[in-house]
């Protein structure tokens, strides 16, 4: 029997209530040219073997990162994820669980989120973290909105070192809510430029460290300058592993720290799903978007966990909710938590050092190629180089030699055609680096 949720009569009454004649009338805003005429021409059903063969052939058109010399970064990083992470997140209790509204059946999920929040707060040097956001770019956008909410001001200054995709996501979400985004020109080492634009109307300054060019910046002077004008310092990041080695933004006075957590516990996943990290000061907690798992005691005095501070969320406050983010990236969050637990504090430091050493070796090798100029003055595992010719052409050429050479900055934002952003992680071998340097020499 087919499941028919609506009868023809239901449908007619609903259409009459909203005052349209037919369901098609609801789509008048979609141009005719964009509408589907008739059914999609799909092949007839096939046997399992034939489907497998076809799908495998399609999948083999992709080149997995692990089969190349891989130097991509600029927002997504290839790190080793221990097999135990994937094994544990696939347990049914975690894999199929829904938003933990009911604490009596969701203690495991809630406790994992609670542990996650503790890890994120410590990693980012902040007092409190939420139970995660969708990804780095939307976390960054929500942080800018939060600065406007907390200061009751409507302008955010964005440094030219922020990842251009993050700037675009921030602009999209903020401008729809009347918050103006002032994005400064791209600059490899220019986070402090935001200070020149501070005045009493600025809600926050948004900077990134390590920034999209890999530059690590001491945020303390920027924080002092922002606070002197009553503005907040919002810091974003794309490479969470960096805080195993670099002072985290919260410890340098950032009021809101929001960015991408993919590089811990999560694979590249074709660009998503990822996990946004979001942390702030305790006094700003009521302006913070997203969920918070809290520790409590049950009727018998035993330790337990519940969602807390949820009275400001949309299921209660509707359009006046603090934020309309409702679902977090639960499974990615869990993967992050498990990997962090396996690493521990010392493991994370060692992982960070290994990344930095590999990146230093790569920088030495590339800087030894004639015509290549290292642009990033202080870096963690990612840096920018200037090439004597267009970076995108070089990337395309090296791809033919099975080397994924990095991201041409021009692919992210206009200008700087000759700038290439490269990253190195613990997954890169000496052989990868030698191969890259040799191929680059040949391409220039």
């Amino acid at each position: 029997m087919r499941y028919l949720p609506l009868t023809e009569d239901d449908r007619a009454r609903m259409l009459a209530t909203i005052g349209v004649k037919s369901v098609d009338d609801l789509y008048v805003d979609v141009p005719q040219a964009a509408r589907l005429k008739g059914l999609v021409d799909l092949p007839k059903a096939q046997g399992e073997l034939a489907v497998e063969r076809r799908m495998r052939a399609l999948a083999e058109k992709n080149t997995p990162a692990g089969r190349t010399a891989f130097f991509l970064g600029a927002g997504a990083y290839r790190h080793h994820v221990p097999a135990s992470v994937d094994h544990l997140i696939q347990r049914g209790e975690f894999l199929t669980s829904y938003t933990p509204y009911q604490p009596e059946i969701a203690q495991g999920t809630l406790q994992a989120l609670y542990e996650f929040q503790t890890q994120v707060a410590e990693l980012l040097g902040c007092e409190i973290a939420n139970a995660s956001m969708y990804d780095g770019s939307t976390a960054c956008a929500e942080a800018a909105l939060m600065a406007a909410r907390a200061t009751k001001r409507k302008r955010v200054i964005v440094s030219g070192g922020v990842h251009p995709h993050y700037i675009e996501a921030t602009r999209t979400l903020c401008e729809a809510q009347g918050v103006e985004i002032v994005a400064l020109a791209p600059a490899v080492d220019g986070e402090a430029e935001v200070m020149k634009h501070l005045d009493d109307t600025v809600a926050g300054v948004l900077v990134q460290s390590p920034n999209v060019f890999g530059t690590v910046t001491d945020l303390t002077p920027i924080s002092d300058a922002a606070h002197a004008k009553g503005a907040l310092l919002v810091a974003t990041f794309t490479e969470a592993v960096s805080f195993g080695m670099v002072e985290p933004p919260g410890a340098m006075g950032a009021d809101i720290v929001a960015g991408e957590g993919q590089s811990i516990g999560n694979s590249l996943n074709f660009g998503g799903p990822y996990v946004g990290l979001f942390a702030t000061r305790e006094k700003l907690v009521r302006s913070m978007p997203g969920r918070v798992a809290g520790e409590t005691v049950d009727a018998d005095g035993k330790r337990g966990f519940v969602l807390t501070l949820s009275t400001r969320e949309q299921h209660i406050r509707r359009e006046k909710a603090t934020s309309n983010i409702c679902t977090n990236a639960g499974l990615c969050t869990l993967a992050f938590t498990i990997h962090m637990t396996l690493l521990g504090q010392r493991g994370l430091s060692q992982l960070a050092e290994l990344n930095h050493e590999t990146a230093c070796a790569l920088a030495d090798a590339l800087a030894g190629v004639k015509g290549v100029e290292l642009l990033t003055p202080r870096f963690f595992n990612e840096f920018a180089v200037r090439l004597p010719k267009g970076a995108q052409g070089v990337v395309d050429k090296l791809a033919g030699q099975n080397i994924v050479a990095g991201v041409a900055y021009s692919r992210l934002r206009e200008g700087m055609d000759d700038v290439l952003i490269v990253a190195a992680t613990e997954t890169n071998t000496e052989d990868d680096i030698a191969k890259f340097a040799a191929a680059l020499k040949g391409a220039l």
Partner: protein, 121 residues
Amino acid sequence: MKYTEEHEWVRMDGDVAVVGISAYAAEQLGDVVYVELPAIGAKVVKGKDMAVVESAKAASDVYAPISGEIVAVNDALGSAPETVNAGAEAGGWFVKIKPSNAGEMDALMDAGAYKTFVEGL
């Protein structure tokens, strides 16, 4: 003391109006855990939201009973929001407004009318 249908009270103290939420509203909300107050100097408009009161079970807007400028806020509520439950119509006041049109007070309910209004809810 005058009341609104949104359960705010307002009392003139010289030429300044003291505003809070009614004892009935505080009781309905239960334990108040947080109060978000406007900035001093902010202009408020009669009937528009000016503050937020949050209890363990709900977060609600508080509306300006009259138009004017915020001249004082009850900072004590920041560290002791439970003051609202202890004395909603006394120590638990929210803001002081310098009215731009004191005549707006006339349209509000007196204590007797508010009591009748609440009984009808």
